[in-house]
């Protein structure tokens, strides 16, 4: 399982599911300068940037991935801005060519002679921060299931779709356990759909990353998210190890009470798919003005 080669003829699907409820405008605990919604949008844009670069061969972007970014808050739907605004799913080449806008920043790079130079770098933006309304998690998961069912009808043999779900609170429209299990029961010939969940917190609370059992989870909501989180396949475990994240056989793709670094690692691990080296965009970010 999880060994299908990802090619243009046999692509895979990556779905980013974002909580955009009102509470996402709160800051992270201990760092009042950063709103959760701002940080998450930044990480999502960097993740999309990484996925595009990974598919770029010379000047061409090859459609190894189809991308969906679904937000839920005051509404449930595509979180893409700009030309892709109405799109539930887009091939990575279209994602590359149709960002909302492209901003220019400066990056410090080695000059090869022992010094550094600052060069202009263009960064595309697809998703803008959004934080409004309640937390219709179940409705959003039904939307995810609908997108995946359509995808799987067309791509029954590929590397299974990966769903990376990020939330900061409990569902406001019911228990997501049942619909989560339904998503996890969807599959290709290469294995079941991967559903990973990252819960982030505004409170100063002990974070739990990639647990293998429920024993250390603090409440029923945490246990529900654990139960609708897939086990990390071997390739993803290898990516976690490269990032210095502790995860072992049986670990679920699940983070509870995560902080900003947890979010970055969650996306890096969750998009490692067939075991490619995680792209540590945070290293770039630290060099950005």
């Amino acid at each position: 399982m999880y060994s299908a080669q990802i090619t243009r003829a046999n692509p895979t699907c990556i779905l980013l599911l974002l909580d955009q409820s009102g509470s996402m405008s709160d800051p992270f605990s201990g760092n009042s300068a950063i709103k959760k919604s701002d940080f998450v949008a930044d990480v999502v844009n960097h993740t999309l940037h990484d996925l595009v670069i990974r598919c770029t061969k010379t000047e061409e972007v090859r459609n190894y991935y189809y991308i969906s970014v679904i937000g839920y808050g005051h509404r449930v739907g595509s979180a893409f801005g700009g030309p892709l605004e109405q799109r539930r799913l887009a091939p990575i080449a279209e994602v590359a060519d149709y960002p909302l806008h492209v901003k220019t920043s400066y990056k410090r790079v080695a000059d090869g002679g022992g010094g550094w130079v600052e060069i202009p770098v263009r960064y595309p933006v697809w998703v803008q921060p959004s934080a409004a309304g309640k937390t219709p998690m179940c409705e959003a998961l039904f939307e995810v299931k609908s997108i995946l069912e359509a995808w799987l009808r067309e791509h029954p043999t590929g590397f299974p779709p990966t769903v990376l779900h990020l939330t900061d609170g409990e569902s406001s429209d019911g228990d997501p356990g049942q619909i989560g299990q339904e998503i996890m029961s969807l599959r290709t010939d290469d294995g079941p759909v991967l559903l990973f969940n990252c819960h982030i917190s505004s409170r100063r609370a002990h974070k739990i990353e990639y647990p293998a059992d429920e024993a250390q989870l603090p409440d029923g909501f945490a246990r529900t998210l654990f139960q609708i989180s897939s086990q990390l396949p071997t390739n993803f475990l290898a990516a976690a190890a490269q990032l210095g994240v502790h995860a072992a056989d049986g670990s679920r793709g699940f983070v509870f009470n995560g902080d900003p670094s947890s979010i970055v690692q969650f996306y890096e691990i969750g998009t490692s798919l067939t075991g490619m080296t995680p792209y540590k965009w945070m290293d770039d970010k630290l060099n950005l003005e």
């Binding site: 010379t58 790079v109 090869g112 002679g113 595309p124």
Partner: protein
């Protein structure tokens, strides 16, 4: 080269479903200088086809052969600058610009033959997983930089075009040499075909002999058919293929 003659053959085959013009492997042949090269551009890199061609074509043409790690370093730095100069003025998308910023990457192996009465020899220089294999009759006298088919992996060392990325690889430049006799065959191979060749050495000499006959006799269509069937059988990675075959002939 008094007293010796060379028979040289070359073969290029792109990945399945690709045109020859898309092939990112390149060969360089300069029979007058008895110099040969294969370079294998990394598909993930920006303008890898140009980088591979630049390396293979330039190396066989330069006045004095570059066969020391120090000389190779200076030569690569100049070639990298030349490649980047060729990109000036290009209008690129944001993602192509990002790839260009990282530069290009290729594996390289170069071979120089030296004919002297009683002491004829070869010298080679390599960085990456493109290989030289030296055969005499049915024996392999030497293979570099990789001599075992299990030594190939998905993340080989490559020659970077960017000066800022080159420092990390200079220690990995491999230089080798050996003597040659009439009848010897030297093969320069890009990684997929090198791994296949080294595997067949252990498992299927008959298939290897067929390959050698086809390339010697320039039966390119049959070679292409052979590799297509080997790809389908999963015995060779579906990658670009570059082969340079040099046979040392007597008088």
């Amino acid at each position: 080269m008094s007293g010796w003659q060379l028979q040289t053959r070359q073969f290029l085959l792109p990945k399945s479903g690709h045109q020859l013009s898309e092939c990112e492997d390149a060969v360089g042949i300069n029979a007058l200088k008895s110099r040969f090269a294969v370079a294998d551009g990394a598909t993930e890199a920006f303008d890898a086809r140009s980088w591979a061609r630049l390396l293979a074509h330039s190396w066989v043409e330069i006045e004095a052969p570059v066969l020391t790690p120090e000389g190779f370093r200076a030569w690569i730095e100049a070639q990298g600058q030349s490649l980047h100069d060729s990109w000036n003025g290009l209008k690129l998308s944001w993602y192509a610009e990002e790839k260009a910023r990282a530069g290009s990457f290729a594996a390289f192996v170069g071979l120089q033959l030296d004919f002297k009465a009683g002491a004829s020899s070869w010298k080679a220089i390599a960085l990456g997983d493109s290989c030289l294999i030296h055969r005499r009759n049915k024996s392999v006298l030497g293979a570099l930089p990789i001599a075992d088919y299990q030594g190939f992996n998905a993340a080989p060392l490559l020659v970077p075009s960017r000066a800022s990325m080159q420092e990390a690889v200079w220690q990995q430049v491999i230089v080798g040499q050996g003597t040659i006799e009439a009848g010897d065959v030297l093969l320069l191979l890009s990684d997929a075909v090198a791994a296949w060749y080294l595997m067949l050495l252990e498992r299927d000499e008959k298939a290897l002999a067929r390959f050698d006959n086809l390339i010697r006799d320039e039966r390119e269509a049959e070679l292409a058919t052979l590799f297509e069937s080997e790809r389908v059988a999963g015995r060779i990675k579906d990658d670009d293929i570059a082969v340079v075959r040099v046979e040392i002939m007597g008088l």
